[in-house]
Subunit: 387 residues, 2 copies
């Protein structure tokens, strides 16, 4: 058995953003040594890790050189050179999630085909190598407007995804491999985080629900537990477990799903790492998702995924009219509300819709937390000092 | 209003041990810049702060020079040069807790006299400048065996305190200013953490109870909430608030108290900082003590001090027969129990009874947490690799 605690063992983390930063609270708690690499010299992870390196995560040699210094390697972002991870695995460095899992997830076309192969439910789709192919398929009436366009690679935080409603929308689509997915009306967008360790132990977090703004098509709150029927929740949970099992995933897998009008559950997409939909767990769960990820990849016993209290998460994104040195307006006002915890990621510059932090609201009574969450949403603003 | 979050504001922390380390989780969460000074170059705070300095906390010039770099100054250990803090205050650097509060607490004789002056209940005592004076007082029958001897300065973690039961015990007492305190039989040792900000807002944490080993005179568990009558708990809470008010304390004040056989509450001693008796709060409270300390000293709104779940804390101290490079035996075994969180402080060398970490056990049912705590206590061991 490896001795991780206050030892010479080194965990390498590719990516040094907010997910890595929150992971480091846990490695500090356990006194596990960490190496972090990120392209930015101002990455949120720069302090709190034992060793920080600036480097390109997509560069084969850079990742290889970095990875060789670690005993176990993980990542907090999907944009990592997979070939380098494969080489590192062949050299005996444990990489969790594995290179082959990441490879299947990095490219959304590959990911969707994987679900089809494994007979896992997902919205019907077609894959196109070029945008020209997509247009030809439209002309041939193989696909129909409306549909959802997804870029096969590079999508993140809502980028690389569009609902195509008319011919004008089609004209705006960029070059590159993509998917056209049938637009399926859904009642709810749900997510389940699955933790799985190399020994094959598996635990799922409760189903969470994304509550959208009534008019703007934007997630406003992540709510745990989802306010849905138990039978539906159980269906979503079981499906998420199946997905994790299909990938033979190690670490955390966040499975985003749709609950259709007929209460069917369809897989939307997955993320092989701690996820925005699990941030509530820091304050609400017995074991938060970051600690769980560390436990999973080190093959330690998985912690209790139940919640102590109801939890709601609100993202703190840069105001659409502000760019520059960040300032958090009314943060002290929201801190005066019971059960409210702001998390500030430590990015110096705000930009429209940039993820700058999040706020968790907890309460034994979820509906009370929901009321407080609305107050939070309506007061705090992420602006720049000099607009 | 000062802007603390992702700004140029700098919080200075004197002392870089485990209390500082846990404080830094919170400054990281809020992205508040920190400077830390500690005499050890291997202090647990060395990473996670923005700037670390090695230096003697009792040296006037060193503390002065360090403090001038901060906008607000705090400490995580009482052994700090008070004259330097006074000078810094006179230069306009906010120091919380204040130099005058720390001065009253640093010396136990001064602290006890302060309680007498303020008519705050504490065990009857006499102060002696030298051990010779104490012996003369004994001969003159002004004090009687048994009594509790306490060194006025330098006491920490049970050092500097002895129960004197016979003439032999008296002979062993070291030189220096000291107190002889009447030995009062007590039912329970209790503690309350009080948070107070410069605006005078005040909040108290629930009363916790120290459970002692049935035969060895050693605290085994800190239990929140204390398993005592509500009327007694309320008495302890009110007294703790009075103590905080008497000191005009800013930050956290941990008030340790005795519950006598007659259910009177007597002050034992106080600590002007986050405290061992509040470690449970990281997992159990809506606002943990470290976040609360930061909120208090920065005059931010104080957070909710209530508990989400019952909490029990077990100290991880070095095994009495081991000294050397540390190893945590059976840590994976305790991690397989629900609601168990180990905290490893990051000290490389274990020594008999050295505080190396702690474990928190939480459960909605406190008696269940107590059962698990016993399993934890009986399995994990802090040993050295090569005994």
């Amino acid at each position: 058995m490896v001795n991780y605690f206050s030892s010479d063992f080194k965990l390498g983390i590719l990516g040094g953003g907010q997910l890595g930063k929150m992971m480091l609270y846990e490695t500090r708690k356990y006194d596990i040594q960490t190496l972090v690499m990120d392209p930015s010299d101002e990455a949120p992870c720069k302090i709190s890790c034992n060793h920080f390196e600036q480097g390109d995560l997509m560069d084969y040699e850079t990742v290889l050189k970095f990875g060789r210094k670690a005993d176990v390697l993980t990542f907090e972002i999907e944009g990592v050179n997979v070939e380098a991870l494969k080489k590192l695995e062949s050299e005996g460095i444990k990489t969790y999630p594995s290179a082959s899992t990441l490879e299947k997830i990095q490219n959304k076309a590959v990911q969707k085909k994987f679900y089809s192969e494994k007979q896992l439910p997902t919205a019907p789709f077609k894959v196109f190598d070029t945008i020209e192919d997509l247009k030809n398929s439209l002309s041939a009436k193989e696909i129909e407007i409306p549909f959802v366009w997804k870029s096969a690679t590079g999508g993140y935080d809502g980028k690389g995804v569009s609902v195509i409603k008319n011919a004008e929308d089609v004209k705006k689509l960029p070059e590159g491999e993509c998917i056209a997915e049938q637009l399926i009306p859904f009642k709810n967008e749900l997510a389940v985080i699955v933790a799985r360790n190399p020994s094959g132990d598996i635990k799922t977090y409760p189903v969470v629900e994304m509550e959208f703004h009534p008019t703007a098509n934007q997630v406003e709150y992540v709510i745990c537990p989802a306010r849905i029927e138990n039978t539906v929740a159980e269906k979503a949970r079981v499906l998420a477990e199946k997905v994790s099992d299909a990938f033979q995933h190690v670490g955390l897998l966040a499975v985003e799903m749709f609950q259709t009008e007929d209460d069917d559950i369809l897989i939307n997409e997955v993320a092989p790492r701690p996820h925005n939909s699990g941030h509530y767990s820091i304050e609400a769960s017995y074991t938060n998702q970051f600690e769980q990820h560390i436990r999973a990849i080190l093959d330690l016993p998985l912690g209790n995924t139940e919640s102590k209290v109801g939890g709601i998460m609100v993202n703190l994104v840069g105001d659409k009219d502000h760019e520059g040195e960040v300032q958090y307006e009314n943060i002290e006002e929201i801190m005066s509300l019971d059960g409210v915890t702001p998390h500030i990621y430590g990015k110096k510059i705000t930009r429209p819709f940039r993820k700058m932090g999040h706020v968790t609201i907890v309460d034994k009574d979820l509906s009370k937390a929901r009321e407080v969450a609305e107050k939070v949403k309506n007061s705090i603003k992420v602006i720049s000092k000099n607009k």
